[in-house]
């Protein structure tokens, strides 16, 4: 997991006046499971298509294994793609679908037959050789699409929202399946999704994108626990994002109350955004909290209760395993380690946008 296998340098792409990607820089290391995550229109699919060779960037280079492949057509690139909605060849049997790439490369018949057998076994669909794609379920078609790609032994597998068309249960099963496949194959996966849970479950690295810009790159833990801006915080899970003032190092003024935190280097009396995850808001007896509020809503969610607490004019989202009746006066306490301070967005581009998905 060391050297850069793919290096995107200053990639820009626009359709007419519509800027999809703006000066993007990103590298992908060997054997990494990297996920491009963001709402629709953020540029994640375009990035993937540029790597796959289905779009040419207006500006910038795609470096693959130290060679510039920006101008190379897709059939000359050492990577394969698993497409949205599978894109199987409906006029061919499953075996013919899987053999497609190998036949193009004039591999011997025994080699191809072995590969088909191996790939079908790998995706748990032995014996499907002579079926037609139309006769398979969505999940099965997805596995065939993966099998068809990996028999070509690509160095990198690109996956474009491969689980988008499957139902929840199947999607979860396939997530584990994909992790297993990646470990067995030992190749790089670049995965595109708008589903934050998928990204958190499978990735080594998550790249959060919005409106053509990379918002944050990091491990799932980094992204979840230390979002760099309000967009990331809002897109990854529920959170309380509160406009606040950094009084000095390790002290922040949230809604008129002083909270101790652990962040330094934001200056004195500077406006910041504060992110607090709902499970990090601790409800106490009124006098024990830093600020006081009233429970206004409560919903039972199975693992925990989801509550809304109005305190100092803000509606706090709280997850707790303890139940408080609506109307109960409570105190709010937050562990200094759980207060995440973020710079206010500098440019409009970085501003959090509402997410419809």
């Amino acid at each position: 997991m060391s050297n850069k296998l793919i290096d995107l340098q200053n990639i820009s792409k626009s359709y007419g006046s519509n800027i999809i990607l703006d000066e993007m820089n990103l590298y992908i290391r060997e054997n990494e499971f990297l996920t491009l995550l963001g709402p629709s229109g953020c540029g994640k699919t375009t990035t993937l298509r540029i790597i796959g060779g289905f779009e040419t960037p207006d500006k910038g280079q795609v470096i693959f294994d130290k060679k510039d492949i920006s101008k190379l057509p897709p059939n000359k690139r050492q990577l394969n793609t698993v497409f949205q909605k599978y894109a199987l060849f409906t006029h061919m049997t499953i075996a013919e679908n899987i053999a497609f790439g190998l036949k193009i490369k004039n591999k011997s018949k025994t080699y191809i037959d072995d590969k088909i057998k191996y790939a079908l076994k790998l995706v748990n669909l032995d014996g499907f050789d002579h079926r037609m794609p139309d006769s398979l379920s969505g999940g099965q078609q997805q596995r065939i699409a993966i099998a068809r790609a990996i028999v070509n032994e690509p160095k990198v597998l690109l996956l474009d929202e491969p689980l988008g068309a499957l139902d929840l249960k199947l999607r979860q099963d396939m997530q584990y399946e994909l992790i297993r496949l990646k470990n067995e194959l030992g190749i790089t996966f670049i995965y595109v999704t708008h589903d934050q849970e998928e990204a958190l479950t499978m990735s080594d690295t998550i790249v959060v994108m919005n409106q053509g810009y990379i918002q944050q790159i990091g491990t799932p833990e980094d992204i979840y626990n230390e979002p760099e801006n309000a967009f990331v915080a809002d897109f990854i899970g529920d959170s309380n994002i509160i406009s606040s003032t950094m009084v000095r190092d390790e002290l922040v003024d949230i809604l008129g109350a002083k909270f101790t935190c652990v962040d330094t280097g934001f200056g004195e009396n500077k406006p910041v955004d504060v992110v607090i995850r709902p499970e990090d808001v601790e409800l106490t007896a009124p006098e024990a909290g830093t600020i006081q509020g009233v429970v206004t809503h409560i919903i039972f969610k199975g693992v925990h209760y989801e509550m809304e607490v109005t305190a100092n004019g803000f509606e706090w989202l709280v997850h707790s395993t303890k139940m408080y009746e609506v109307g109960t006066k409570v105190g709010i306490y937050i562990d200094p380690f759980n207060i995440q301070i973020m710079h206010k967005p500098v440019s409009e581009d970085e501003e959090a946008v509402s997410i419809d998905e």
């Binding site: 359709y15 007419g16 519509n18 999809i20 963001g38 709402p39 629709s40 229109g41 953020c42 540029g43 994640k44 699919t45 375009t46 595109v192 708008h194």
Partner: protein, 261 residues
């Protein structure tokens, strides 16, 4: 770049091929010489002659009336049939689609002959009615085939939602289902109208001696020479439809949105 230029040239050539005869006819409508073979200078006299030529105007009237009536009746029968077919089980549906396809795949000459034999044995006098019946018959499939896809796209829940909200079946149909399939109904009507207008073969076998549409009139004139008024009439019809189409396409369209991700 090179490739797209070649492609555009190819499209242009095909359009020249398809439109050359039309351009020729338009030019002929301004030809002072009465024969097609040579150019005798520019004139508008055929246009004024057209409006004094009762035979041609009568044929035009008959053509338009039959086209309108047959398209209108075919649209009603076809739309109702399409709704019925759409809610049928596989077997009945296959039967109806099979019947619908007969006039589409069968040779026009056979359809014309078969209707002619029918009218003879029933003893209807050949004329307006027989042509109208024949045109309705070959128009219905066009309506069905253009309404059915719309019906298939329809979300059945919207109809049920209307019923659930207290609408009667009739209200639910006209307020919810009909607006959704309307584009299909309209394009079916237009298709039927155009087909009826352009038909010659079936009219030829079902019209009888007294009646003439533009097509049959032209056909009888072929041997003795087409009257130049016919060219000016065709030019007028063609140009007005062209203008109409341009106007319809001029209506502002939403900005083309490019979606990624």
């Amino acid at each position: 770049m090179m490739k797209t230029t070649l492609q555009k040239i190819y499209i242009a050539l095909i359009f020249v091929f398809l439109y050359a005869p039309i351009a020729t006819l338009m030019v002929l409508s301004f030809n002072a010489s009465k024969t097609r073979a040579k150019w005798g200078g520019f004139t508008l006299k055929w246009y004024s002659a057209l409006f004094k030529n009762d035979a041609i105007l009568q044929a035009l009237y008959t053509t338009l009336l039959i086209a309108f009536l047959s398209a209108f009746i075919a649209t009603i029968i076809g739309t109702v049939a399409a709704i019925a077919i759409n809610s049928m089980k596989k077997k009945n549906r296959a039967f109806f689609m099979g019947v619908t396809n007969i006039p589409m795949v069968n040779a026009e000459i056979v359809t014309g002959i078969s209707l002619m034999l029918l009218f003879i044995s029933v003893g209807i006098r050949f004329g307006f009615l027989t042509v109208l019946l024949a045109h309705i018959t070959f128009n219905i499939p066009y309506v069905i085939l253009s309404v059915l896809p719309r019906l298939k796209q329809l979300n059945p829940s919207t109809y049920e939602a209307a019923l659930d909200l207290g609408a009667t079946h009739t209200t639910a149909f006209f307020k919810v289902v009909f607006p959704d399939i309307l584009p299909g109904v309209l394009s079916g009507f237009l298709m039927a109208f155009t087909m009826s207008l352009d038909d010659f073969i079936i009219t030829h076998f079902t019209k009888g001696p007294g009646l003439d549409t533009l097509s049959t009139k032209i056909y009888t004139e072929v041997k003795k020479g087409i009257k130049p008024e016919m060219y000016s009439l065709s030019t007028l019809i063609f140009v007005s439809v062209l203008i109409l189409l341009v106007l319809v396409n001029r209506t502002p369209k939403g900005q083309k949105d490019v979606s990624s991700c």
